[in-house]
């Protein structure tokens, strides 16, 4: 039992000076279009949601619509929608491809960013951890691509996709 070891260098606690901490950009809108609708031409929808439509989308999806999603019409049928959701710990831009009949074809995460803004910037809140900080070369910005940790829920993206489907039903169909 006492075979377990401790590290000579204690656990480093590395805070980047400004939020966000972990994040990855996977796709631009153009790249996501090519991944979901290979070879197809997409043109901006050009329409605008009315206040009534927005209200109906919020009601149907049970999710607020802070910002209008970007919508493209896909040549040969289908829709390409870029939208974003804000979770408790994360901020996510995602793309969803819908078939001509409004079924979900594919979902791709475009950008994932963990943001704890207020907490991290709050010096008093941070001070409680200062004693534990060690000089560790670990940098969190561009260097950290792979993170192991408890599972973060993707529930907010699921809700965002539901909102995109509601947008189709109410404004595109």
């Amino acid at each position: 039992m006492s075979d377990w070891k401790t590290f000579a260098v204690p656990a480093a606690l590395v805070l980047s000076t400004s939020a966000p901490c972990f994040g990855t950009v996977y796709f631009t809108a153009d790249q996501a279009q090519k991944a979901i609708f290979p070879g197809a031409t997409c043109t901006p929808w050009g329409g605008k949601l009315t206040a009534d439509q927005k209200k109906a989308i919020e009601k149907a999806s049970d999710l607020r619509l802070r910002k209008d999603p970007q919508v493209w019409r896909v040549a040969g049928g289908g829709w390409f929608i870029v939208d974003e959701v804000l979770g408790k710990h994360e901020y996510i831009t995602f793309a969803v491809g819908l078939t001509a009949s409004g079924a979900v074809k594919q979902i791709e995460i475009m950008e994932y960013r963990e943001s704890y803004g207020g907490e991290v910037r709050d010096a008093k809140w941070r001070a409680q951890f200062t004693g534990k900080t060690a000089k560790d070369p670990l940098r969190l910005d561009q260097d950290v691509k792979n993170i192991s940790g408890a599972t973060l829920s993707s529930r907010h993206v699921t809700e965002g996709v539901r909102r995109a489907c509601a947008l189709y039903d109410i404004a595109l169909k």
């Binding site: 039992m1 006492s2 075979d3 377990w4 070891k5 401790t6 590290f7 000579a8 260098v9 204690p10 656990a11 480093a12 606690l13 590395v14 805070l15 980047s16 939020a19 901490c21 972990f22 990855t24 950009v25 996977y26 796709f27 631009t28 790249q31 991944a35 710990h89 995602f94 979902i107 791709e108 995460i109 994932y112 963990e114 704890y116 907490e119 991290v120 951890f129 534990k132 560790d136 670990l138 969190l140 260097d143 950290v144 691509k145 792979n146 993170i147 192991s148 940790g149 408890a150 599972t151 973060l152 829920s153 993707s154 529930r155 993206v157 699921t158 996709v161």
Partner: protein, 301 residues
Amino acid sequence: MTSRSSEVRRARPLLGTFVEIAAGGLPEGEAHRAIEAAFAVVEEVQRRMSFHDPESMLSRLNREAARRAVQVDAWTFRVLAAAAEVHRVSEGVFDVTVAPHLQALGFLPGDAPAAAGAPFASFADVQLLPDRHVRFRRAGVCLDLGGIAKGFAVDRAVAALRRAGVPRGLVNAGGDLRVFGGEQRVAIRHPELPQAAHRSLPLRNAALATSAHYFAERWQPGQTLAPIIDPHTGQRVTQVLSATVRARQAMLADALTKVVMLRGEAALATLQHFSADAIFFTTSGEERCSPRWHAALELSS
């Protein structure tokens, strides 16, 4: 897509979390096709083993196996066989029949099927029979593969990437990950401050999984304690804040994190049986590393 080296990296919401797949060393078009094939495999695992989908193989098993033997697909059977093996070696600490406890605590939807006063089931009530048949010895057994199927999906996705000719890559299902073909560094979240990392570990042709209390979600408001239940007591874990396990397969790493969360130092024999290693954090702020991994890390630093 834009990262250095010619690596393609994509992410999709799957298995209730974010599944990230990276493929390096191939022309971009081929890398994308390989990643699509790997995502398809993860979707298939989700279709078969989801607790939440009433159409899944697992849901059918939970509905019918107390009445008659049910034949399951080869993947579901493999996961159940691995769950049985970890259950046996850990002397019952790892148990995929704790779903009723989780339901009673509000971590899983639905009502606990066990009648009031009746003892909860254990994996000893699950029979794995020839020809991929599964039968429950009694009513009230309910399986949840949430503590092992994510790792299995990672292993299947890695196999799909390799089949497609990817020389080096990574699959990360919300923190349960596996790398192949060359060393990669993986950061572990700090258990008291999950937006920061506390260690960066080199990993080569191996899997790493972490269980922890942070980010725990439940259907009802209350404390955020991870949905990890001691099958012997029905209680949630409180002594270990986070456990990270390194193993050959992600399925094993995934399952063994629960044993370390529940048993701390006493999990060492189980880890050694599977040639696995662990780092864990206790609630009193101590960090512990299993001896073999510790020696390797001290050498590499």
